[in-house]
């Protein structure tokens, strides 16, 4: 065993004072690694002794409240869970009330006139000058990012989040090209969507067992995934209604897959 490997293993031990059997022979013969072990042991001991301020007063106040309050403590968020709760909008609302909206109307009319003038007069080249490189595929960029996210993910809920986003992207892609794509291209997207939902989203959702995490966190993870599928179903159905014939089947397939996936997740969430 090399010193590098031994030191890495020492630092990863649950308890550096208790090296595993396979480390002992190396430690017996290596003073340098024994020194690293001693450092790790001393470090753990120091960590336990790190000073923190006292919180006794707050603890007692809370415990007293528990004894005196009624059966239900209404949770008063002490940290803002949403921007609205934080009161961040109050200054904005106050400012908005001070505006004289007649002037705003005049401003909008003038702006439209100027904007149209510029739009007609300025030569357009897709907004891209000859010197600019062609746009990259954002979808490909996102797929690469999702791939690295999956490589880092260690829990079903992390993977569920990634697969949910990937599925949403696939539905979005279908929505972007349905008016111009060939039938087999649309069917390919629908098939990818099916794979992502049936082989990605649903299996990961099944792995999130009750008891593995606090109930509200589990619900949140499953609800997020259901929402994404619900949105995909709604959008695909809407587009299918206006799609040309060669895209309609694929969009309906996406909508059906999303609907079925959502139902399955709902069953999982309810413990069925």
């Amino acid at each position: 065993m090399t010193c590098d490997v031994a030191r890495n293993r020492l630092l990863a031990l649950p308890d550096p004072t208790r090296p595993t059997d396979d480390l002992l022979p190396h430690l017996a013969g290596c003073a340098a690694c024994r020194a690293v072990q001693a450092e790790a042991v001393r470090l753990d001991a120091l960590l336990k002794r790190l000073p923190v301020p006292s919180s006794e007063e707050r603890k007692q106040a809370f415990m007293n409240r528990l004894d005196t309050e009624g059966p239900i403590i209404r949770t008063r968020p002490v940290v803002p869970s949403t921007l609205a709760d934080s009161g961040a909008f109050k200054p904005v609302v106050k400012w908005l009330k001070r505006i004289d909206w007649r002037y705003v109307g005049g401003g909008v009319a003038a702006a439209v006139a100027i904007g149209l003038g510029i739009w007609f007069l300025v030569p357009r080249n897709g907004g891209v000058t000859k010197a600019d490189p062609p746009p990259r595929s954002e979808r490909l960029e996102r797929m690469v990012k999702y791939t690295t996210d999956l490589a880092k993910a260690r829990t079903p809920q992390e993977r569920l989040g990634v697969y949910g986003n990937w599925s949403a992207d696939l539905q979005g892609e279908a929505g972007d090209v349905f008016k111009v794509a060939e039938r087999d291209e649309m069917i390919s997207l629908a098939r990818n969507f099916e794979e992502m939902v049936n082989d990605g989203v649903v299996p990961q959702a099944r792995q999130i067992k009750p008891g593995d995490m606090p109930p509200d966190a589990r619900s949140q993870a499953l609800n997020d995934a259901m929402k994404k599928l619900g949105d995909a179903q709604t959008e695909a159905s809407r587009l299918a209604a206006e799609a040309p014939p060669n895209a309609r089947d694929a969009l309906q397939r996406i909508a059906k897959t999303a609907q079925d996936g959502r139902r399955t997740l709902s069953d999982i969430a309810q413990g069925k």
Partner: protein, 179 residues
């Protein structure tokens, strides 16, 4: 107080002028279709690997899957070099670098910490590591240093990024038998 309405109108006018001068946001349907057609095979393969990653339970399995993704992307890079397509070369080199650095390297490191050198998995780890390093090194050297492609800034950047990714992964440590 007459200045206030003038200021409001001027502000809106400036904003409108700025908005009008911006390029349109997002690709058109035709542009999206063009990208779909250019990447369709790659999309299918990435989807397949993504699902396999979700089934991987160990760092070694994840590293192996990431290796497959980097090999796939490396093929695209080499095809871009063959076609002398600088833009595609730059785009795919970036993606290859991302997967190698953010996906493959951390899982290789984690696997190296977890796997006993005496175990069967160690042989596989060494193999994956060697292939990862070789693939990135070969891809970096496949980007030419001369000609119109090779002397372009984007090709130089691509080559440097790939070489840096290969250096980041590094060759596997030599096998060492414990006496």
């Amino acid at each position: 107080m007459r200045t206030r309405p003038l200021l409001v109108i001027a502000a809106f006018a400036a904003l409108s002028a700025w908005v009008s001068a911006q390029p349109g946001s997002g690709p058109t349907a035709a542009e999206s279709l063009k990208m779909l057609r250019a990447n369709r095979g790659l999309y299918e393969d990435l989807t397949k690997h993504a699902l396999a990653l979700g089934r991987s339970n160990t760092s070694l399995d994840r590293a192996d899957e990431c290796l497959k993704v980097t090999e796939r992307l490396a093929r695209e890079v080499r095809e871009a070099v063959d076609r002398k397509d600088t833009d595609r070369l730059a785009e795919l080199s970036d993606h290859l670098n991302t997967v190698a650095t953010d996906g493959l390297a951390p899982n290789l490191s984690a696997a190296r910490n977890d796997i006993n050198p005496q175990s069967l998995d160690y042989t596989r780890l060494q193999d994956v590591h060697q292939h990862a390093f070789d693939n990135l090194s070969r891809t970096a050297t496949a980007v030419p240093t001369d000609g119109e492609l090779g002397t372009s800034k984007r090709a130089k950047d691509a080559r440097e990024k790939l070489a840096a990714a290969a250096a980041h992964i590094g060759p596997p440590p030599p096998d060492k038998k414990v006496p």
